[in-house]
Amino acid sequence: MANKFPAVNREEIKSVQVLTPRLQKLKQQWEDAAPQVYVDDTLLFTESWKETEGLPVDIRWAKAFEKRLDECPILLRDGELLAGSLTKFIRGNGTLCAMKPHEILKMVESGKFDRKTSDTASTNITPEDLEALRQDALYWIDHMPKVSTVNASVAFEMGEEAFDLLFDRGMIFEGRGVRYSMDRGLFQNYSAYGGGVAQVSDKCIKVGLNHVIELCKKERERMMAEGDNENSHGAAQFLRKFWLLKACIISCEAFIRYAKRYADLAREQARTANPQRAKELLRIAEACERCPAEPPRDFFEAVQCVRLYHLICWKESSDRPEVPVGRLDQILYPYYAADKAAGKVTAQEAAELLGALWLKIRECENLVTIPREQRAAPGSLLPNITLCGVDAEGNELTNEISWLILEAMAQIKLSEPAIYIRWSEQMPEEFVTHALECNVEFGGGNPAFLNDKLGTQRYAERDVPLEDACDWCASGCLGYHLNSMEHLGGGHNLSQLKIFEVTLHDGFDPRTGKQLGLHTGDPRNFKTLDELMEAYFKQVDYFTEKLHMFKMISLSTEVADGPMSGLRCAMQFDTSIKAGLTPKEGGAKYPEGRTSWLGSRGMVDLADSLAAIKKLVFDKKVCSMDELLNACDNNWEGREDLHQLCLNAPKYGNDDDYVDEIYDELSTRVPEIMTRRVDPITGKKPILFIGAAAGHVGIGRAIGALPNGRVKGQPTCDAACSAMPGMDVNGPTALVNSATRGDYAHEFCGYALNMKFSKSVLNTPEKLANLSALIKTFMLRNGWHVQFNIHSRAELIDAQAHPEKHKNLLVRVGGYSAYFIDLPRELQSEIVRRSMHDEI
C-alpha cells in the first residue's frame, strides 16, 4: 500500500518562515531568561493537602490538582499565539516539596539550585520564595512517613543484604525504584505513582472532556443503582472505583475551568489591545472556552488543545514529568487538511503556529534535585513527538504536518522536543531526504529514526491486535508505548557489565568488598572462553532472579501506598472508567507497559572484553588470565603494554566476526535468561530495554578496569549497539553490519545506534541520498533505532573549552537531544571520543 495522504508541495514547505518576527522575539526572551524557581504550585499543593485531611487519598490528590489549576497565576505574553504557561516565569522551574522535602531543603540551605544550562550559575529565587520553600520543605519533613515503605518491604522479604545490589552500592540493579537511601517523599517511591508518566490523549481531544465527565457520572449512578452486579475484580476494587470516578470528574472539571481562565484573560487583554492583537486574543479565548470540554473544530483549536493537555499532564505529575506529546502529525492533520481545503489556513500560518507550540513545550522545566551526573537523562525532560507510521491497513501516514513539524524543528533549533520518525519502506523518499536536511540544519541528532515494522511487531508478538499494535509512539528516553493504551513505566535494570566484573572475581564485588554473586570459580583456572561465559550466564541467572523478586516488591508497595490519579484515568477513559483503575493499576487497555521493562546494559563492553580475553589469553597466549585480571584490578598501572594490547584487540562495530560472534551469543543468551521469568502482571515474557542512554555514565562509575581496555570508572558504551567510542574504524557500513548482525532487535526496545557524521559527508544531495540508503539498509537488516549527530570534532572540543561561545550547540545523547554545555563533563568527553564518520 502506498501513502495515505496527498503528496506534499516540497517548495511550499521549504519556503515557510517558522520564526516570524514575533516568534523570534519570544525565542530570544526564552534564551535570555534566567531559570527561576517557581514555588506557587507546591504551596498550593500543601495548602490543599491540609484542607483535605481525612478524605480518601485519591480525592486528596485530585483536589490538590484542582487547587493548583484554579489558583495558580496565569498569563499571556505579548505576541503569544497560544495560551498555556506552566509558570509565571519564562523559565520557571516548578517542584512539589511533598515528593522530596529533604532534597529541596538541602538546596534551600545550600542556596544553590541546579541550573540546566550550565554548572556555573544557579537557578534564581527571590528571598520571599526561598523562605516559603524552606517552610514548605520543613512542613513535609514533619509530615512524611519516617520509614520508606519500599525499603522496609525489601528488607522484610529479601533481607538487608539486598541493598548491596542497589544503585548507590554494588550497582548490579539500576534504574527505577532502586535507590537505597534517596528521599522519596510522601508516597515513598519514584514519584506519586511509582514512576510512569501521563500522556497527551488524542482520544480525549477527539471526544471532549464533557463526554468523559458524563461517562464517569453515569457509571457512578449505575454503581449506586446496581451495585457490583457486573462482578468486577472484587469488593475492594469496586469500592475504590467510587472514589476514583469522583477524582476523575474533579480533575476534568478543573482542567475545563483552567482553560476558561485563559479565555477570560484573553478577552480582558483584547479589550485594550490593538485590532490585530485583539483578533488573535479572541481566537485564543474562543478556543479555550470550547476546549478541552468539547472537541476542537479547526486547526487552531486543535493546536491550542494539544498545548493545554501537555501542560496539565505536566502540572499533575509530581517529580519527573516526562510527558510525551505523542503522534502530533496524526492528531493535527485532519483539522489542518479540512482548514486548508476550505482556505482557512496556509502552510505558512500552520508553520508559525507549530513554532509557537514548540516554544511553549520548551518552556516546561522542573527543579531537578538529583545531581546532574547521577541523572539518567541530564539536560532533558523528554517531551517526545512521534511522526508517521504505517496503519493496520498498510497505509503509510506521512502527511503535510509531518513535513512542517520537521521544518519547525530545524528552524527553531531548540533542544526539545525530540522527534522520532517511524521509518517504513513505504515512506516517500523525499520525506526521508527532508528529514535528513533538517537533521543537518539542526545538528544534534534530531530527528531519530525508528523501525516502524519492528515497533508494531513487538506488540503483535504479545497478542496485541494489529489495529492497536500499530498505534505506538516514542516516550521517555529511548522507550516507546502504545498510544494512550498503556501505562508508561520506568525500567528495572541489570548492569551486565557489573555482573561480568563480579564474575571475574568469583562473585565478589571489589566496590562494596562483599560477595554479591554466586561462587562460579576463579577465572584463572578456566581453560576456555566458554567456561568463563558459562560462569557469567550463571551469574546473570542468579541476579535476574533477585531482580524479579525486587521488582515484585517494589511494584506492590507502590500500589499499596500511592493514590490513584483521576486525570490519568480520564486520559484512558475508554477502558479506565469501566475497570475502575488508573492505567497503572490495570485500567489500561493493555498491561504490557505496566510493569516496566527489564533493562540490560553494557553488552558491547562485555563482548569487547570477552574478545580481548579470547585473543590474548586463549588464542595468542601473550599473557595469562592472572596477569590480565591483575592488570585490571590495578587499573592498568605498570601494565601499559597489556592495556594497549587490550585496546587493540578486536572491537565490536567493525564487522569483525571474531568479536561480533561473541556479541551474538551474548545477545541471544542473556535475553533468553532474562525473559525466562514472566512479567508478573502480563504473565508473558517481558520486553527488554537495552538502551544505555546517558545512564552509561553512572553505571560506568561503579565498574573497575576491564579487558576491553576501559579504565576504572569510565562511562560504558553510550547506547545499546554503538561501538566503544573511537573504536569503530571501518566506517558506517561496518558499524551497521555489526549492529544488525543477529535477529534480536525485536526482543529489545531502546536498542539504539548513535552515529556521528561530519557535515562534509552530507553537503550534497547525492551524499544525503547515500545516508538515506544507509538508513534503509539498517532498517531492512532489522535495526530498531538510529540517530545521527552532525558536527565537527573541533566544534565540540572548542565548546568544552569555551561553553559561552556554544550555547546553542545541540547533541544527541541517548533518547533525546540536549545542549552540549548542559552535560556533565564526563559525558561531554565521551561524546567527543565517539568515532566520527568523515571523508578520507
Binding site: E640, D641, Q644, L645, N648, D655, N730, G731, P732, T733, A734, N737, S760, V761, N763, T764, E766, K767, A769, N770, A773, L774, K776, T777, L780, R781, H837, E839, I840
Partner: protein, 301 residues
C-alpha cells in the same frame, strides 16, 4: 590470484555513484607532485610509522635485527636503506604506530570484504571502485575483482590515471561499467614536469577506453599554479569535447593537502608545501568554461 593493495575503504561516497567499496591497489608509474596517497606509489608493501600514535617507547629499536630503526627527537625514523622489511617492529608495537602499508591479498579475500556491503550497493545504487596507486599496474588482479563483482551483479568503476599497456587497458575495461579517467595536463612537457611522464600514452589509452564503449568521467585534479589557469582548462575542455559522446562529464577535484602528513610517515618531504587552495571563484569559473563547451561539469565536494 593475488594482488598488492594498501587499503579497502568501505562507505566510499566520492568514488562513483551511491555507497561503494573502494579497493586501493599499490604501485603507480606517475609521481604527481600533489599526490595525496604517496604511500601508494611504491608497488611493494612498506613499513610506516604513524607518528601521532607513537609513544616513543623504543621497543621497535630494540627488536630490529638490521638496526634500521632509530629513535630521534622527532620520533621514530626508519632508515629505508637498511630495512629488510622483516616486520618485527610492527609485531612488537603495542600502539599500532609501526604498521604495514600495503599487503598481498587474494581476490577471494578482497571479495569477502566487498560482499559484506552488497546490501548497501543495492539500496544506494552503489558498487565497487578499484583505484590506486594505479589499477593498470595490476590489470589481471583488478579485472578478476571486477569480473567477480559483475557475477554478483555489483556495479564496477575503474579509477585510472591511464598509464598502462594497451593489453592492461583492454583487460580492465572489459569488466568495467564506468571509468573515472584522470587528465592532469594537456601539455606533454608540463605533464612530464609535474608527474614524471608525458601524456602521450595516457591520451591514446583514453581514446581506446572510449572505443571499448565504457562510460567515462574525466577527472581533473585542479592544482593552483600548475593546471588551474583558464587557458589550460579551455584546452582541456576542447580536447574532451572532441572525444565525443562517450564522455559523461568532467569532474574537478580541488587541490587539498590532506596527504601531507603521510609523506612524513613514509620518510619523505611534501613537494608542494605551502601551496594555496583554490578560491570558490576559480572553481566556479572552471565549471563555467567546461560548460561553455556544452559539457557537463561538476566539482567534487
Amino acid at each position: 590470484m593475488q594482488g598488492t593493495i594498501f587499503n579497502i575503504q568501505r562507505y566510499s561516497i566520492q568514488d562513483g555513484p551511491g555507497m561503494r567499496t573502494t579497493v586501493f591497489v599499490k604501485g603507480c608509474p606517475l609521481k604527481c607532485l600533489w599526490c595525496s596517497n604517496p604511500e601508494s606509489q611504491d608497488p611493494e608493501p612498506v613499513i610506516s610509522n604513524r607518528y601521532t600514535a607513537c609513544k616513543k617507547c623504543g621497543k621497535c629499536v630494540q627488536v630490529c635485527p638490521q638496526s634500521a630503526v632509530e629513535l630521534t627527537e622527532e620520533g621514530v625514523n626508519i632508515r629505508r636503506s637498511l630495512c629488510d622489511k622483516c616486520g618485527k617492529c610492527v609485531d612488537t608495537c603495542f600502539y599500532d604506530a609501526m604498521h604495514w602499508t600495503g599487503e598481498v591479498v587474494s581476490v577471494d579475500k578482497v571479495m569477502k570484504t566487498i560482499l559484506r556491503d552488497k546490501m548497501y550497493y543495492e539500496t544506494s545504487g552503489g558498487g565497487v571502485t578499484c583505484s590506486g596507486g594505479e589499477i593498470l599496474s595490476q590489470p589481471d588482479f583488478v579485472a578478476e575483482i571486477f569480473r567477480r563483482c559483475r557475477e554478483e551483479g555489483i556495479h564496477t568503476n575503474a579509477d585510472t590515471c591511464g598509464f598502462g599497456t594497451e593489453e592492461a587497458v583492454r583487460k580492465v575495461m572489459a569488466e568495467a561499467d564506468l571509468c573515472y579517467y584522470d587528465l592532469k595536463h594537456m601539455d606533454p612537457e608540463k605533464h612530464r614536469e609535474y608527474t614524471g611522464l608525458d601524456n602521450g600514452l595516457i591520451l591514446r589509452n583514453l581514446e581506446l577506453t572510449l572505443s571499448l564503449g565504457v562510460k567515462v568521467v574525466i577527472r581533473v585534479p585542479l592544482i593552483p599554479e600548475h593546471n588551474a589557469d583558464e587557458e589550460h582548462i579551455r584546452a582541456l575542455a576542447a580536447y574532451v569535447k572532441g572525444l565525443g559522446e562517450g564522455v559523461d562529464s568532467v569532474c574537478f577535484l580541488p587541490y587539498h593537502s590532506y596527504g601531507e602528513n603521510k609523506y612524513r610517515m613514509i620518510g619523505r618531504t611534501y613537494p608542494l608545501e605551502g601551496l594555496r587552495k583554490l578560491t570558490e571563484e576559480e572553481l566556479r569559473r572552471a565549471v563555467e568554461i567546461v560548460e561553455g563547451f556544452g559539457l557537463r561539469a561538476t566539482v567534487s565536494k
